[in-house]
């Protein structure tokens, strides 16, 4: 909206530039140079991102095939299929735990807490998001690996990852429920709905797209996270058989292999990086699309 409002003086600028005093010429000239130079800064974001995507793709794609992606041979230490399937398992567990913690937490915060208490909870969630991932990894290591005696295992790694993902789901659920138009809530409760009926039957259909959005975002963040799982689990050539088996993870494979000389190990690192990158970027794009549509839908509720 601001960009529309400031477009006007550009047309008259040229005439003024030649007729005005030196001072005015300097001001208008500076403005014009800024208008040309500042947008160039976008290149600082665009060039690295294109370079990064191109580099990872160009290193991974020559060795990537369907056979590589589905190679789960336990005698091949560089099989990509094992980390992919293990990552799916870990993410299923982590997402389930994170949704269980974050979803109920978000709903309860939005619906039951006073503004003041909800503010504290929102601040806590924001702080959790700002907590370095290595600290969450340490928490998982001390509390789960050592404290609960789970060892370096699937369950310790996936649960630690869940702690990392929880605040994202919490915040989005809280936001989704808080931003439901107040008249809808009052209409439901005023016509005799019990709170749980309002939450499940009235609010949930409205809030669901955004909550789903939060889950996607949390999955995108979880899949790309390395420290929580590397600190709480160890490499394995097998898909986890029990909750307490060690487990491999795509980002952990990158961490283990990135400094190897060119060869199968490095190829595995690039393949894993490519898979992670594709999943994360795809999820981020989906999140943006859903988010944009949801905003329109929410605005439509008032009409």
């Amino acid at each position: 909206m601001a960009s529309a409002s400031v477009a006007a003086p550009a047309e008259t600028g040229k005439d003024l530039l030649f007729d005005a005093s030196a001072r005015t010429r300097w001001r208008l000239g500076f403005d014009r140079v800024a208008g040309w130079l500042l947008p160039v800064l976008f290149l600082v974001a665009i060039v690295p991102i294109l370079d990064l995507v191109y580099y990872i793709a160009s290193q991974a794609l020559p060795t990537l095939s369907w056979a590589v992606l589905t190679n789960t041979n336990p005698h091949d230490p560089y099989a990509l299929g094992v980390p992919i399937i293990s990552t799916v398992y870990v993410m299923l567990w982590a997402t389930a735990v994170a949704v269980a913690l974050g979803l109920f937490g978000g709903v309860a915060t939005a619906e039951f807490l006073s503004e003041r208490a909800a503010g504290w909870m929102r601040m806590s969630a924001n702080l959790l998001v700002g907590t370095p991932s290595v600290v969450i990894g340490y928490f998982g290591y001390f509390a789960l690996v050592l404290g609960l005696g789970w060892g370096y295992s699937f369950i310790a790694g996936a649960t630690t990852l869940a702690f990392f993902m929880t605040p994202y789901i919490f915040r989005v659920t809280d936001l989704a429920y808080s931003s439901i138009p107040r008249p809808i809530r009052e209409a439901a409760l005023g016509s005799g709905a019990r709170p749980y009926q309002y939450i499940l039957k009235v609010a949930a259909p409205i809030a669901l797209p955004q909550i789903l959005n939060g889950v996607f975002l949390a999955v995108a963040i979880g899949v790309g996270e390395t420290a929580p799982i590397v600190l709480t689990s160890t490499h394995s050539v097998l898909v986890p058989q029990t909750l307490y088996s060690p487990v491999s993870f795509l980002t952990a494979e990158i961490w283990l292999n990135f400094s190897q000389p060119p060869g199968q190990a490095l190829a595995l690192a690039f393949q894993a990086a490519f898979v992670v990158l594709v999943v994360v970027v795809a999820l981020n794009i989906v999140v943006r699309i859903i988010s944009a549509r949801y905003q329109k839908r929410l605005e439509g509720l008032y009409q």
């Binding site: 960009s3 208008g35 309860a108």
Partner: protein, 339 residues
């Protein structure tokens, strides 16, 4: 015509029947607001984030075993398993390293972010920014390990063979830029700072952009209507108006750069020593914690030192984030990872 009834009409009314008093033997009705513990159940899930934070802090405190390393904990000597003598755990190197990487990265990210945000809000038309802004958002979504492998194998050699030698050749008279020649592999402070800048950039850009967009249209138009250029309006009207948001962008961007773990561990050439010059490696708290936990496994004193370091890192992160979040509330940027 008067609506009030005359006294006669009132008196002529049938007297009301006496109110039926309740039978004396019934008990008074139950107070509906009586507290029952089950009423608390719906509130319990709401405590999740606070409980998680408290649990993280408590667990880290407990796992230090309340080991007192004394003043040497803040000292420069980090010798977790020396061949002779007793181990020393001083984290000054890592605190220095964390600030040494995060502050330059933050300054760069703030400057570039401010430029991008101003370009996006004041200069470029909407249809161009709709196309360009998602690139900045996407930077936030790239996992740090992917930044790391890209940085280690592509960016670092570029720094090592092109940028660092040029700086070394022409600026070696500047203190800190001379001395030992840069490595050809290029891993070290410049690469780490460069990629940290990229990682902090989406946070600073988005928050600054949001605060500039929140400036009322009237103020923009007032500035422009008085004859100020777009640059002058941005600098003298919009930026002062959105200053809180811009400062919060600084804090949150710093938090992001300060806590970054895996990418730094990959490109910084992690060694537990102060950097000898601009091109050398050092270590940060997060990177050291990440790479050393394996060797500390089973070593009580080492683990205690690492968890105390974790507490220091967490404390700084919390303070930075609390300040940053108190300045503004940004629901709008919940879709951005790490924000």
């Amino acid at each position: 015509m008067s609506a009030t009834p005359t006294p006669e009409a009132v008196e002529s009314r049938e007297p009301l029947p006496p109110p039926s008093s309740p039978p004396a033997e019934t008990t008074p009705p139950r107070r509906t607001s009586r507290f029952r513990p089950a009423q608390l159940i719906p509130f319990i899930p709401a405590l999740v984030p606070a409980a998680l934070i408290v649990a993280v802090i408590a667990e880290l405190v407990v796992s230090t075993g309340f080991t007192n390393f004394g003043l040497s904990f803040w000292g420069p000597d980090w010798l977790p398993s020396p061949s002779v003598g007793t181990p020393t755990f001083g984290i000054l190197v890592f605190i220095t390293g964390s600030f040494l990487t995060a502050i330059p990265a933050l300054l760069l990210a703030m400057a570039i972010g401010l430029g991008i945000a101003i370009a996006s809000t004041s200069y470029l038309p909407r249809w161009i920014t709709r196309f360009l802004d998602p690139f900045v958002d996407l930077l936030a979504g790239i996992p740090s390990i992917v930044y790391g492998i890209w940085g280690y194998l592509l960016v670092a050699p570029f720094f090592g063979t092109v940028i660092n030698p040029v700086i070394y050749r022409y600026f070696s008279f500047v203190p800190g830029f001379g001395g030992k020649a840069p490595l050809a592999e290029g891993v070290g402070l410049p690469v780490a700072i460069f990629i940290l800048t990229l990682m902090a950039l989406p946070i600073t850009t988005l928050l600054i952009r949001d605060s500039l967009r929140a400036v009322p249209r009237d103020l923009w138009e007032a500035g422009l209507g008085l004859g100020a250029t777009r640059w002058e309006t941005t600098r003298k009207v919009a930026i002062p108006y959105g200053l809180r948001g811009i400062v919060s962008a600084g804090f949150l961007g710093f938090g992001r750069a300060f806590g970054e773990t895996v990418m730094v561990a990959m490109v910084l050439n992690v060694v537990p020593a102060f950097p000898i010059n601009f091109y050398s490696g050092t270590s940060t708290m997060a990177a050291e914690m990440f790479t050393q936990l394996d060797s500390a496994h089973g070593n009580g004193q080492f683990l205690a030192a690492l968890s105390e370091m974790a507490l220091v890192l967490l404390a700084i992160s919390l303070v930075v984030n609390i300040v940053g979040r108190r300045l503004v509330s940004h629901f709008a940027v919940y879709e951005v990872p790490g924000l």
